[in-house]
């Protein structure tokens, strides 16, 4: 009984959201209703991997382009953020030195970084990666730093008493002790990277879910805007769940 209710409740929520959407579509004539959105989008969903031309592709194919871009930007971001987090965690001097800069850089929107990226790299693809990396790295920097600082004195004592070298201490104590924090950082970073991708694709017009959204807006196919929005949400949710699973696995081991 309880399981049935647990299944029904989210369905109720979804139903209410659809009803609100439908009501809004009655009030605003330009907004397609849920049914119309489905009618105009089903080709993209039912043939998710179809390639009918540069501007006309299945939704999974579009999501795939975006995911590849996110993966590259995210990996670039954490490749910089992880060592930076360790350094800041270990050294109070470095923290004092860089904390103000970090606090200022952190709240800057991807929309602000992107033009700078275009100036720096001249091309849209590296500019997009730059924007993703620079926006998504902060949670990893901060969580890794916190993780290192949260290492119990006991573990430092072990390193001291056993006279472990810096390298051994790093590999055998600092990294394993920080790993759970790092993964929380990765998860948050990936979430941000996915947020940034849409903005950067919209501005640079590269193929992907965000690029598709902007292109369909310009071609006045409003149903596809909703299709893109829902896709972005579902993929983002799936990414977070996957990272959450990886994190839980790690904590359990």
């Amino acid at each position: 009984m309880k399981r049935v209710i647990n299944l029904l409740l989210p369905l109720c929520g979804i139903g209410m959201a659809l009803a609100a959407w439908w009501a809004a579509s009655v009030a605003v004539p330009d907004l397609p209703s849920p049914v119309r959105t489905w009618d105009e989008s089903k080709l993209y969903i039912l043939e998710p991997l179809a390639y009918r031309g540069e501007s006309d592709q299945g939704i999974l194919l579009l999501a795939y382009y975006s995911l590849i871009r996110v993966a590259r930007g995210f990996l670039l971001g954490i490749a910089i953020a992880t060592p930076l987090g360790f350094l800041l965690g270990v050294s109070a001097t470095l923290t004092k030195m860089f904390d103000p800069i970090m606090q200022v850089l952190r709240p800057i929107s991807p929309l602000a970084w992107l033009p700078l990226g275009l100036v720096l790299f001249q091309k849209s693809e590296p500019a997009a990666l730059f924007a993703i990396a620079v926006c998504s790295m902060w949670p990893t920097v901060i969580n890794t730093m916190m993780g290192v600082r949260a290492i119990p004195q006991d573990y430092w004592n072990v390193a001291k008493v056993l006279r472990l070298s810096r390298t051994t201490t790093f590999i055998k104590i600092i990294v394993p002790a920080t790993l759970p924090y790092m993964f929380t950082g990765y998860r948050l970073s990936l979430g941000i990277a996915w947020l940034v991708i849409v903005a950067s694709e919209m501005l640079t017009g590269t193929p992907g879910v965000g690029g598709f959204l902007w292109q369909e807006y310009n071609s006045l196919v409003y149903a596809h805007i909703l299709l893109a929005i829902i896709t972005i949400g579902v993929v983002g949710f799936a990414l977070d769940r996957l990272m959450g699973l990886a994190e839980a696995r790690l904590r359990a081991s």
Binding site: Y155, V158, L164, A177
Partner: protein, 283 residues
Amino acid sequence: MAFLEVRDLSKSFPSPAGVRHVLKDVRLDVEQGEFVSIVGTMGSGKSTLLSLLAGLTSPDGGTVVIDGKPVTGVRVDAAFVFQNYSLLPWFSALENVRLAVQAAFPDATAAEQIRRATEALERVGLGNAVDRKPRQLSGGMRQRVSLARAFATEPRVLFLDEPFGALDALTRDTLQQDLAQLCAERERPVTTVMITNSVEEAILLSDRIVPIVTGPPASLGTPIAVELARPRTLAQLAHDEQATHARAHVIAALTASMQRRTRPSSAGSTATLTSTEPAKEAV
């Protein structure tokens, strides 16, 4: 010259209420192969003293000399057992011990390191728990791993910081016997300094007991010799005349310093006075 010599050691920490002097004029001699317990109440500065002896922290003044060499950091031939086990939770018992073996014998082959670590665990009766993680072990077993880790490196000096303080009474009894056994089994004598708040534990294990003269700043009182044959058992200690004598002596020394503390006007000066007496009197 004693194997371990402490002269005029002092240590203070900054605190919100100004500088807190924890230790002052600490003087101690420990002979090679001797087991010395430093007994005091909680918060009396005994853990600070042990970290100074082991070279984990450096003193404000005074010197610690072990085997003719001033202590400036953790010695290669020293081992430490902490009250809270201090095992790394991501490593198995064997890996925890091996980490110490690896650090102590970097030139040994992997097989040799594993053999040493396994042997050390077998000696404390954990031969069939080598692959278990600390969280899969009971408190007593964890502290056994910790003992194995300390003895696996074949130390010449052993520092024990309330090693059995976190254990229940029954487990504590067996572990105390295990420790006595481990110390006795050694081919090379190990010089041991143990911190404890249990007078009984000190009598069971030590050659000499040094009471802490409560501060702050704390210092050490006159050592009390425990001239009892080994192996000792708790049952035997309960009735033994020598043990009763030692127990009374230690408790008297501890309570005397406690009472001094309750009269703040004379606290500082008395504490310092006691420690400047020759510390070897009872040897």
